[in-house]
């Protein structure tokens, strides 16, 4: 028994059939659609590595049932760049060399992109608060803060 789900990913219409209504969006994105921006980190919504945008809002795809995004518009890290040019955050992360292993970076960029829409020019404390629930294990935090700040000044 499968349930059809239609939604949009990075501007493209997608039709999937899911055999379990509880399956999280993350597995559809990574395995069915081969998108590797969103990453599996905890499956508990605690670390943020799986973050994507659903109708423009940052959500944790590892705890978002696929059935809940029916008819919605998903953006992943792969879809963040518009018209072939990198998103200001992607540029800023390169400029600040704000990556170590990079496993958390999807979440950092996707969370920050949502945050910058509501607060385009944040100060450092606001950035720290905005990313307080995103975990980086390598300790890249100071560079990530600098990158978000740089993107906010762009």
């Amino acid at each position: 028994m499968t349930t059809p789900i239609a939604f949009t990913v990075n501007g493209r219409a997608v039709d999937l059939a899911v055999d379990d209504d509880a399956m999280p969006l993350l597995y559809a994105l990574r395995n069915d659609l081969d998108l590797h921006g969103p990453r599996f980190g905890c499956g508990l919504g605690q670390c943020g590595a799986c973050t994507v945008h659903v109708d423009g809002k940052a959500v944790r795809s590892c705890i978002t049932p696929l059935t809940s995004v029916r008819g919605k518009s998903i953006t992943t890290l792969e879809g963040l760049a518009a018209d072939g040019s990198l998103h200001p955050l992607q540029k800023a992360f390169i400029e600040e060399q704000a990556v170590q292993c990079g496993y958390c970076i999807n979440g950092m960029i996707m969370q920050a992109a949502d945050f910058l829409r509501s607060n385009p020019h944040p100060d450092e404390d606001q950035i720290r608060e905005a990313l307080a629930n995103n975990i980086c294990r390598c300790g890249t935090h100071t560079r990530i803060i600098a990158a978000v700040k740089r993107a906010g000044q762009a």
Binding site: H36, L44, V99, C101, E129, R137, G139, R143, I145
Partner: protein
């Protein structure tokens, strides 16, 4: 190994029906728990050939046959003493470097590219680095111990220098000129003084025309550099460096910020099955029986692989495997052999000492401690069990076919893993091929090798490619742990405040001869296995100070609660925490400023320079005035080490705020002075130092594995707390570059000085000595009450 397929015909029939989309037939016997005898039980639904594609063709990453003999050529050498072990140059002049050391998220691939490009005198963009492929890359040892540049990079540098010199010689012969008149620029051998630059591919022309260059591609392109590495091949003078010493942007970052990068977790094979391992709820519980009836109702469920206490479910889809793991019913024996956590340190003192070993022995500290007029001090320090906590739980893919195993892994030690897999599976080492793919940040021997062993064991049993992805719960619960570490220190001051005696003892788990960590799968399945080695955790117990009487010894313990391994700065962090905290206590007792006290006992000019530069960077001044009386008390502390007493110098000043009411310690600012000799990539080095500081502030303030008598109970990021953005300090760094010196490691040393700098700052702020990591609010509040 005997494989007993499907315990009952009904099993197969049921599962086939499920796979075909039909309703599972109810069979009374399926309701019974499958008997858990000693033999391997594989309840496998499919004819393995049905799912197998035309061989395990890759959909991403390198092909499994990469590096195997192409045509009639024998396989590429991976010998450490051969230039072609490390370097190949193709017809287009592209250079491939084969590195046994791998990038664990540190940026070392970029640094190794710089080293090779510099020494070969080719553009950075023409160098590609292949990492950790057992058929292609020399076994340069485990990627640990801050040795990737210091050892791995220098092996590559020497091979590159040998290649360059040989190619210069060839060019001289071909051009008919003296070799001394030639140099290499951008991969082309050209006249050293003036003359034509020569375009790539240009060859010498006849006499009478201006001498053109000859390119590496023309000289060797496509042929192997069949040369022994010449240990005496002259290295390029650092004054001529144009690539080494530059903050070259990391090569992997553009792909990592756009989702194009292929991590281990992204790797797929056609026909690959997904597995999840179902682990005992108590660490050493035995599997009594299991029942996969509920699993059979799940679409895409394939079956169970069981051997001994190793139990895994297989499904066509990843989510299917997760559901099956949750649906599987298993009965386990009870086990509660862990010590009581609240009494861990007294338990450690009761463990049998296999042997005591001295690591520093100067003068007679016992006599100095007993000397008339000596003021003696003692203190004990402890450091908790911690997890690597990689952000991405461990993952691996294995494909067993026709007696050969290929394993894609994020292991820091593919060559070692290959040997361990061979041992576990009773296979020949040469029948196993391990290929490195970068995983989530790796800070030591974490779960990567265990996931690889899970996948290999399952794949060998079912004869199909298998992907194993650990869940968060597996990672926190089952990765090997940094062992609990206890230290006792004693010291003596003379009547002038001079440090006359130093004695330390550390209590750490004993180490087997071989540096390897037991594979969980081998342990659970009762297959051949290695003992667990905790890493060289006695290192940095010895002190870098010129004290007249010193005795530092390790008590190697017969037992430790968890499978131990090395986690970033293993032992060096724990030992330096105790050493530099105790030194601070002695400085305070002597009434001497802590930096001044260190300088008084330090003869090493490089160390003294570092401390002086650190004092300047931090604008250090001896404490004046009394401690603050308000809720928030501020202070600063210092710490210093020469890593393992033989390499990188590092010192740190930490500024902290301690909240008297809440007990919270906040590290507001850290200053680091760092001297690792020649710097390959200054920004990459800063990134590593920053990471060391931030991660270790978290380890010092928050991180501790919690456990009951049966197992680890802190299995997620709520119960195992690490640092978060609001708690991250500002960091100032002074890099001391010494281009003429050897490059030393930087992946770990800074972490060594962080816990003690914080502890000493807390003392400076409050008068409280925190001797037990992590510095939780509860411990601070208890200490505040006691004063």
């Amino acid at each position: 190994m005997t494989v007993t397929k499907a315990t009952t015909p009904a099993t197969t029939a049921t599962s086939r029906a499920a796979l075909a989309g039909g309703s599972p037939k109810h069979d009374a016997r399926r309701r019974d728990f499958l008997s858990a005898g000693g033999a391997l039980v594989v309840t496998f639904a499919l004819d393995p050939t049905a799912l197998r594609a035309a061989g395990p063709a890759t959909t991403a990453g390198p092909a499994p046959a990469a590096g195997a003999a192409a045509g009639s050529q024998p396989p590429k050498t991976v010998a450490l003493d051969r230039v072609d072990g490390f370097i190949a140059i193709d017809e287009a002049g592209k250079v491939t470097v084969y590195s046994g050391k791998v990038d664990l998220g540190t940026g070392v691939r970029t640094a190794l590219t710089q080293i090779a490009a510099e020494e070969l005198c080719v553009p950075l963009a023409s160098v590609e680095v292949i990492q950790g492929d057992t058929l292609l890359t020399p076994d340069q040892g485990v990627t640990f111990g801050s040795l990737s540049i210091q050892v791995g990079g220098m092996q590559i540098r020497q091979a590159a220098a040998t290649a360059r010199e040989a190619l210069l010689g060839q060019a001289a012969a071909r051009l008919g000129v003296e070799r001394a008149t030639l140099k290499v620029a951008d991969g082309v051998v050209v006249p050293a003084a003036g003359g034509a630059g020569g375009g790539a591919g240009g060859a010498a022309t006849g006499a009478g025309t201006q001498l053109q260059g000859v390119s590496y591609a023309d000289l060797i392109g496509g042929k192997r550099l069949e040369l022994a590495v010449d240990a005496k091949a002259p290295l390029k003078p650092p004054a001529e460096y144009t690539i080494v010493g530059q903050s070259v942007a990391r090569l992997d970052i553009p792909d990592k910020v756009t989702g194009r990068f292929t991590y281990m977790h992204d790797f797929k094979l056609d026909g690959m099955l997904h597995a999840r391992v179902v682990r005992p709820p108590a660490m050493k519980a035995k599997l009594v029986s299991f029942n996969d009836w509920e699993c059979n109702k799940l679409p895409g469920y394939i079956g169970v692989v069981r051997k001994g206490d190793f139990l895994a479910v297989l499904a066509r889809s990843e989510w299917g495997a997760i559901r099956a793991a949750r649906a599987l019913e298993a009965k386990w024996t009870a086990w509660s052999g862990l010590p009581e956590q609240a009494k861990l340190w007294s338990w450690v003192r009761t463990v049998k000492v296999n042997k005591a070993e001295r690591f520093q022995d100067v003068g007679d500290p016992a006599q100095a401690l007993a000397a008339a007029g000596a003021r003696t001090f003692s203190a004990s320090y402890d450091f908790p069990v911690q997890t690597h906590g990689s952000l991405g739980p461990s993952c691996a893919v294995a494909a067993y076919e026709d007696g050969k195993l290929t394993c894609w892994t994020a292991s820091q030690a593919t060559h070692l893993l290959r040997k361990q897999l061979a041992n576990m599976l009773s296979m020949k080492v040469e029948d196993i091929h391990c290929i490195y793919l970068e995983g989530s940040g790796c800070y030591g021997r974490n779960g990567h090798e265990d996931a690889a062993a899970d996948a290999a064991l399952i794949s060998k049993e079912v004869g199909l490619p298998v992907r194993v992805q650990w869940m968060r719960d597996d990672e926190h619960g089952w990765d090997p742990k940094g062992p609990p570490t206890l230290l006792d220190h004693k010291g003596a001051l003379d009547d002038k405040g001079g440090l006359t005696a130093w004695q330390s003892e550390v209590f750490i788990p004993d180490r087997p001869k071989e540096i390897a960590v037991t594979l969980v799968a081998a342990d659970l399945a009762a297959l051949p296995k290695e003992e667990a080695h905790p890493g060289n955790i006695h290192a940095s117990l010895a002190i870098p100070y010129a004290v007249p009487n010193i005795r530092c010894s390790a008590n190697w313990l017969a037992e430790t609660p968890f499978r131990p391994s090395w986690i970033r700065t293993p032992g060096r962090m724990q030992n330096t925490f105790a050493n530099e905290s105790f030194l601070d206590e002695l400085a305070e007792a002597a009434g001497v400023d802590p930096i001044e006290f260190r300088l008084r006992n330090l003869n090493d000019p490089r160390g003294r320079e570092l401390l002086e530069r650190l004092a300047k960077l931090a604008n250090w001044a001896p404490r004046a005035g009394t401690r603050e009386s308000g809720d928030v008390m501020r202070g600063r502390g210092v710490s210093y080490t020469k890593y393992e007493l033989v390499r990188t110098y590092v010192g740190m000043v930490a500024d902290v705020e301690v909240n008297r009411s809440s007990g919270e310690v906040k590290v507001t600012r850290c200053y680091v002075a760092h001297d690792c000799g020649q710097i390959i990539n200054p920004d990459g080095l800063r990134n590593q130092i920053e990471g060391n500081v931030v991660q270790t502030v978290g380890r010092t303030l928050f991180e501790e594995i919690m456990f009951d008598r049966s197992t680890v109970t802190s299995r997620d990021w709520e119960s195992y707390r690490t640092i978060r953005f609001p708690e991250v300090p500002a960091i100032a760094i002074d890099l001391i570059d010494r281009p003429g010196e050897k490059p030393w490691g930087a992946g770990e040393p800074t972490a060594a000085v962080v816990p003690s700098a914080i502890a000493n700052a807390v003392f400076d702020a409050t008068g409280i000595r925190l001797r037990s990591v992590p510095f939780t609010p509860q411990k601070v509040l208890e200490a505040v009450k006691a004063i």
